[in-house]
């Protein structure tokens, strides 16, 4: 029994480094002997600040957060979020909070981070100037940008360009103002800065280098006018300062612990401050007169502090950190490694500069050309991983070091540094400090996929920059052990869906039996049967209820209806584009009334009728078919609906006739079976009332035609669609959708929607554009022809099923009686039926 009172560990600051400290601390055996207290000035728990600009691309706190406050609480941690620490008394070992509370500590960790430096330019304090650091900052910027046109960032460093990206995603015409002669002066040289500037300007962001802002004027129109030394003034609606960071060290001064001359709380190699019970980690800490403004060194400090406080035998003292960075700024690759400016004495530089492609590469080597000291990359980061490994592991360079950055022209292939050449000590993931050796040990311990290794070692869960490298190491290690990676669909087929698709198409296989006999084993199962059925339907388009295919179908496809939780079915006729006549509406209403069905308008602009028993389906559908309705295929992994707004026919803002286009699209692709359901929408103008950007295929009218978006979805993990092509005419639009859908059907995995499919295509959106728009694989005509075949062979499954007595015999609740299922019980709610709950059912049966 443990009667010893717990010690108190107080951590001030809940940013990325503060959170990492907590996560590492929880792994310690002694964690249970301590009461952890987290104080955070922001009202929300720690989130990923590195990817802050994604907040404007639709991500919220929950997407960026590492955990929720409730997760801390469930671990028994006390949290004080939205509360500021106002004082530290190191004699009493207490922390004062601005809510009046005082907390006692045994050990204290300062992870207060930094604050943005705002240069005191005359007029800098005004309601239209902001900094870029927290979600609150972003909310304020977003509010100020509402209905406005222009944004300016002062500061052309790494963070400034991130902020520019954020302003651009708010739809503002964006300018970047940098005092130095080039962008990112710390990481890049003049040549690289110039290439980056040109690339960014091509994206419609104006860059003003060598420009000093002298004053800021708040005009009568509630705008800001920036006055410069040597240039015309510039007016803007939003101004963001990103002129560097300063350590948030005020508490250090209050506590009277050592603070550096130019700021930062002084720490030793164990991350202790001048008071041994107080630690400092992250951007607030000053180690050997240096502040580390990147997240990886902050994580290393957190790990050192955890080990030191826990009294671990395996403390790794903080020894500085590599400041190499690889990122995508406004979509442009930028990389900087080590001594990028060749400041080491005797260093040699090698440069490659391609103005037409906008690529700049430079490496810096030792005087003998044998070791890599540093590098700069702009426009093409493909060499980054290799160069970084040469640098970090001190690997001897090839005889001609420039071959590493020269383009691969035939026989002079650049010698890529395979993962085999790396020593086990090589760091693969620098955010989480995972070495090649760690990955190999994880595989030794039983991991056998990238996913396993990720969850076991945490590799690639930080910035994600090392994903490709991690996969190479995992694959190479598994391969070296003779492990083949199992991609089997199920125990009956040692093939992926894509491989089965090719087998069926190339060998003209028409049935499941023929396929399993030749390429599989056993009888099949509920995984492979529907998958193969879907492929057969996509290629040959035979009715799914034809005899050889019947046994392959999921219940919904078997009965051409959606089975609900109580075993009854729902019925959805097609209402293309959501357009329906009053007579059509009345007819649906009458059918629903006659069969006592519950009716509801669906999200896809049609009408769903619930509560039909199996034997009622043919009766209901006979009436619907006679009245001219077709199956809506709401039951299939197939084309569902094309939602539309009313468009230019009625709407004063409409640019094109979105309803006609929606009906055309829905009638073209109806009946198409796919790896997963497919949803479409067409909006008549940029106001986007049809919500096309949340669909697999989204079409938005422009003045000149149609913009096509793809790979969006709602559901559990909503994703905005990506803009795929602009200003297409009707013919181009249909041709592009034909190709896109057929390529998806050919190559996607089972139950993989378009968004995840594209994410998994090597090369992603750019590759997909290349295949579909530039026909880089020469598949275009084939894909179109295949789609035309499907369109031409469409038939309404309900119509043909009703005409076939052999198929109809399945639509009986029981084969030996006309009785209904007595377990199906309804009760009334809001003047309609609904399934009775288990309790209600028991009561009804008891009183009957």
């Amino acid at each position: 029994m443990n009667s010893k009172p717990k010690q108190n560990l107080v951590i001030i600051g809940n940013g990325m480094v503060g959170h990492h400290f907590v996560a590492e601390w929880q792994k310690q055996a002694c964690a249970q002997d301590w009461q952890l207290h987290i104080i955070g000035e922001e009202p929300v728990s720690a989130y990923d600040r590195v990817h802050l600009s994604e907040y404007f691309q639709g991500k919220g706190h929950s997407d960026l957060a590492y955990c929720q406050e409730s997760d801390y609480l469930s671990l028994g941690i006390k949290t004080y979020l939205g509360v500021k620490a106002s004082g530290i008394n190191k004699a009493d070992k207490t922390v004062d909070l601005d809510n009046g509370e005082t907390i006692t500590y045994d050990k204290l960790v300062l992870a207060t981070g930094s604050y943005p430096f705002v240069p005191p330019i005359p007029g800098y304090q005004n309601p239209r100037s902001f900094v870029y650091r927290t979600l609150d900052d972003l909310d304020a910027i977003k509010a100020a940008a509402q209905g406005r046109t222009t944004g300016v960032v002062i500061g052309g460093g790494l963070l400034g360009l991130e902020a520019a990206n954020a302003l651009k995603s708010l739809g503002l015409k964006t300018h970047v103002i940098e005092f130095a002669p080039r962008l990112m002066p710390v990481q890049l040289d003049d040549g690289a800065g110039q290439v980056l500037k040109e690339k960014i300007e091509a994206l419609d962001v104006t860059v003003h280098t060598q420009t000093g802002t002298q004053s800021i004027e708040h005009t009568a129109e509630d705008r800001l006018k920036l006055h410069f030394a040597d240039a015309d003034p510039l007016e803007t609606d939003v101004l963001v300062f990103s002129a560097g960071i300063r350590p948030q060290d005020a508490l250090g001064k209050i506590a009277d612990i050592d603070v550096g001359e130019r700021g930062g709380i002084v720490i030793n190699d164990l991350c202790q401050t001048s008071d041994a019970d107080i630690y400092a980690i992250g951007e607030v800490a000053l180690w050997q007169n240096r502040i580390y403004g990147l997240v990886a060194p902050g994580y290393r400090m957190a790990e050192t502090a955890v080990a030191s406080i826990a009294g671990s035998e395996h403390i790794v003292p903080f020894q500085g950190a590599d400041m190499s960075t690889k990122l995508k700024l406004l979509g442009v690759d930028v990389g900087s490694i080590g001594d990028a400016h060749a400041q080491t004495s005797g260093a040699l530089s090698f440069r490659y500069h391609n103005e037409s492609k906008g690529v700049y590469k430079k490496i810096v080597t030792t005087a003998d050309g044998k070791r890599l000291l540093g590098a700069i990359l702009v426009g093409d980061n493909s060499a980054y991983d290799t160069l970084l490994q040469y640098h970090l592991n001190d690997i001897e360079l090839p005889a001609e070091p420039d071959s590493l950055i020269l383009p691969n022209l035939g026989s002079n292939a650049a010698p890529a540094l395979g993962v085999d050449a790396l020593p086990d000590s090589a760091t693969i993931c620098s955010c989480l400090n995972v070495s090649k050796g760690d990955i190999i040990s994880a595989i030794d311990a039983g991991c056998c996929s990238v996913g396993d290794v990720k969850s076991s070692t945490q590799a690639s869960t930080g910035c994600g920059g090392c994903t490709a490298m991690l996969k190479d190491v995992v694959d190479a290690t598994l391969e070296a052990r003779g492990v083949t990676i199992d991609k089997s669909l199920c125990e009956h087929f040692e093939h992926t869906r894509q491989e089965l698709f090719h087998l069926i198409q190339v060998n003209e296989i028409k049935t499941f039996d023929a396929l399993i006999e030749k390429h599989g084993r056993g009888l099949g199962c509920d995984i492979c049967k529907p998958t193969v059925s879907s492929i057969l339907a996509s290629i040959w388009n035979e009715p799914v209820l034809n005899q050889p295919h019947v046994k392959l179908q999921d219940t919904n496809d078997t009965f051409l209806a959606n089975m609900q939780k109580n075993g009854t079915f729902s019925v959805v006729p097609r209402i293309a584009g959501g357009e329906i006549t009053p007579d059509g509406l009345i007819f649906i209403g009458e059918v629903a009334k006659k069969y006592n069905l519950y009716t509801k308008i669906t999200g896809g602009q049609r009408i769903d009728m619930f509560g039909a028993q199996l034997h009622e389906l043919p009766l209901i559908w006979q009436e619907l078919v006679d009245a001219g309705f077709e199956t809506g295929q709401a039951y299939g992994k197939s084309v569902r609906t094309v939602k539309s707004c009313v468009g230019s026919t009625w709407c004063r803002y409409g640019q094109q006739d979105s309803v006609s286009m929606a009906i055309l699209i829905e009638n073209r692709y109806k009946g198409l079976r796919a790896p997963h359901k497919l949803k479409f929408a067409v909006s008549g103008c940029t106001r986007e009332c049809a919500e096309a950007q949340s669909k697999d295929i989204g079409v938005i009218a422009t003045e000149n035609g149609w913009n096509l978006y793809t790979c969006g979805n709602g559901g559990m993990k909503p994703r905005h669609a990506d803009l795929f092509a602009t200003d297409l005419n009707d013919v181009e639009l249909i041709r592009t959708i034909d190709r896109l859908l057929m390529f998806y059907i050919r190559t996607a995995d089972r139950l993989q929607r378009t968004a995840r499919w594209m994410d998994n295509l090597e090369g992603g959106l750019d590759y997909l554009k290349d295949v579909i728009l530039n026909d880089s694989l020469g598949l275009g005509e084939q894909l179109e022809a295949q789609m035309n075949r499907i369109v031409e062979t469409f038939e309404c499954e309900w119509k043909s099923t009703l005409q076939d007595p052999e198929k109809m015999k399945r639509f009986r609740t029981f084969v030996n009686t006309d009785a209904s299922d007595s377990n199906v019980v309804f009760v009334a709610e809001r003047d309609q039926i609904r399934p009775a709950t288990t309790d209600e059912k028991a009561n009804l049966i008891a009183t009957a």
Binding site: D526, V550, T555, M563, G567, V815
Partner: protein, 113 residues
């Protein structure tokens, strides 16, 4: 231990009412039974139609197949697998569906509850 000496066979339907490699439901003495037909060995499997996981009579509508050598049906609502010969649930060994003997005589399907 009890030994069933005589089975009470009941005529349910004809072979034509069945769907090869798939299921249909029958109501026998107020009990719902799912009947699956495998023509290659002329075998009929009878198993309770009620799925305890979903509280619905749906087993007859499931896809049949084999998993690790066992002949199974997958419940169409939450996809648990049940062995057609023993009724055992592969995902949860505390659940077992009722299974019944069947025979075919003159194209008629007989079942013993």
């Amino acid at each position: 231990m009890t030994v069933q000496v005589t089975k009470q066979w009941q005529k349910v339907c004809t072979k034509k009412d069945l769907v090869a490699h798939s299921g249909v439901a029958a109501l026998v003495d107020g009990k719902q039974v799912a009947l699956f037909y495998l023509p290659e060995n002329d075998a009929i499997y009878a198993i309770q139609n009620y799925c305890p996981f979903s509280d619905a009579n749906v087993i007859a509508r499931g896809i049949i197949g084999d998993l690790k050598g066992k002949l199974v049906v997958a419940s169409p609502i939450y996809k648990q697998h049940f062995c057609l010969t023993t009724g055992e649930c592969l995902e949860d060994n505390t659940v077992k569906l009722g299974v019944f003997d069947t025979k075919i005589e003159d194209d008629h399907i007989h079942i013993a509850l």
